[in-house]
């Protein structure tokens, strides 16, 4: 592995920027995700930053069982995140739809909409579990080799045109 590759991998591990997306969650997991960024849990010591724009993020954090209304939005935001990227399903809802299972307003667990890399189970999960999940996703980004990364980043912008507001 060349020096540049090693540096890039270390940087990916040390600087995960997250984007938070709610896909019909009860807000329990959202509150816990925000709690993970507060001074008490201080996610910034791992380089974790909450970004305002999906364009800036590496990791998409999705909460909630994906509803009919939010499924296209989840897909759009997933396409807007630039590669290499990872998706974290926060809570039991995006993993299994939890207590809302068989509801007619759901289009199923998150992995039927976008590929999920890390599951953080819990209803809601503790903030330390969420921080650990983000760290795991960051290591995953660092471990994926250059070839896989290139294929992924090449496939995603070409597959779906970006939404441009005019």
């Amino acid at each position: 592995m060349s020096f540049w590759k090693r540096l890039l991998c270390a940087s990916r591990r040390r600087s995960p920027w997250i984007f938070h997306m709610n896909s019909g969650s009860c807000n329990g997991c959202d509150i816990e995700l925000i709690a993970a960024l507060t001074p008490r849990y201080d996610a910034e010591q791992l380089g974790i930053l909450l970004q305002g724009s999906p364009r800036h993020a590496d990791i998409l954090c999705v909460t909630g069982p994906v509803t009919h209304t939010s499924a296209p939005a989840v897909q759009t935001v997933y396409q807007q995140v630039c590669g290499p990227k990872a998706v974290i399903a926060i809570g039991s809802c995006p993993a299994s739809t939890n207590v809302f299972i068989d509801s007619r307003v759901l289009v199923g667990p998150l992995n039927q909409i976008v590929p999920v890399d890390v599951f953080v189970p819990g209803c809601p999960p503790r903030p330390d579990a969420i921080v650990r999940g983000i760290a795991a996703a960051a290591s995953l980004l660092a471990e994926r080799d250059g070839a896989a990364v290139k294929a992924e980043s090449a496939a995603i912008p070409a597959a779906a045109p970006e939404e441009v507001r005019s």
Partner: protein, 304 residues
């Protein structure tokens, strides 16, 4: 010889080779100090450097309906302009080299903000447009005070040449002008009470909403260089010239560190102001200092 010294200033000190690591250091210092004031541990040393490398390795989105070359050009222009501004800083007053003047320095310091405004509009994102409009209003509000304060310092010294300004003995009126410049720095650097253009969680990331990867990395470097240029200008003008060049340099670095500390304290202790409050603050409260510094400078000059 002269050309060589000028190149040295732009490429080594205080230019490229010094300024970019210093920009990362200042960005890290600001985040770390804010974290410490919130009783957190904060980002590890060198975090902005790792952010930069990571952003270099990310892809940029395919753009439809906007001019992709233009979008790419703005951060490049911003970085080159702020690098030029840092290269002009009068921190090595006795060594000669390229003699820039204050007008050129001010012009170069304005260009990144103007690039940011145009970039937000040319991205055609709704949030980018709101952020750019806010940045434009902010620019108009603090620039009046900033330019008046800088011109008052120049009038006091009867020179626009940076070397003369840095080498001139300090008067108490210059501190008045420097204080007015210092009041403008939070708005220029978008730190917290005036973080309107890139208001996080409010309008996504303002003008930078559509930027990613390499271009975003350049914006970050440009922002860090703006820190160096703004803080460096105040520090270089605030240090009285001494016989020893190393003493001068140490003084500039020390004052720069204190300024970053003060700005971080302000950013950690305050919340974001609304745009009308910001404009009122600069045009009603801060303008007094600039006007006083200006009239005092004119008065001193007429009397002598």
């Amino acid at each position: 010889m002269n050309l060589l010294a000028a190149l040295g200033r732009f490429l080594i000190f205080p230019g490229l080779l010094f300024a970019v690591p210093a920009a990362w250091f200042v960005l890290w210092l600001e985040r770390k100090l804010v974290a410490l004031m919130q009783r957190r541990i904060g980002p590890p040393f060198g975090q902005p450097f790792f952010d930069f490398i990571k952003l270099l390795g990310k892809s940029t989105p395919a753009r439809f309906g906007v001019n992709a070359m233009l979008m790419r050009a703005w951060p490049l222009i911003a970085v080159s302009a702020s690098l030029g501004a840092v290269g002009l800083l009068p921190v090595l007053p006795t060594h000669g080299g390229f003699e820039g003047d204050l007008i050129l320095l001010l012009a170069l310091m304005e260009i990144p903000a103007i690039c940011l405004i145009i970039a937000g509009f040319s991205s055609r994102s709704l949030f980018g447009e709101i952020g750019s409009a806010r940045e434009a209003v902010l620019l108009v509000s603090w620039n009046l005070v900033f330019l008046m304060a800088v011109v008052s310092i120049a009038v006091l010294q009867r020179s626009f040449r940076l070397e003369d300004l840095a080498a001139a003995p300090l008067t108490s009126w210059r501190y008045f002008g420097l204080f007015a410049i210092l009041l403008c720095l939070p708005a220029k650097l978008h730190v917290n009470p005036f973080s309107l253009p890139n208001a996080e969680q409010e309008i996504y990331s303002g003008p930078m909403t559509e930027y990613a990867g390499f271009e975003l990395a350049l914006w970050q470097v440009s922002h860090g260089l703006e820190w160096i240029a703004g803080v460096g200008l105040v520090a270089a003008l605030a240090i009285p010239p001494s016989a020893h060049i190393w003493l001068d340099l140490a003084g500039v670095l020390f004052v720069g560190f204190i300024l970053v500390l003060v700005l971080s304290l302000i950013s950690a202790a305050t919340a974001r102001l609304a745009i009308d409050t910001t404009v009122r603050f600069y045009w009603q409260c801060t303008l007094v200092f600039a006007a006083a510094a200006m009239s005092a400078a004119l008065f001193t000059r007429l009397r002598s």
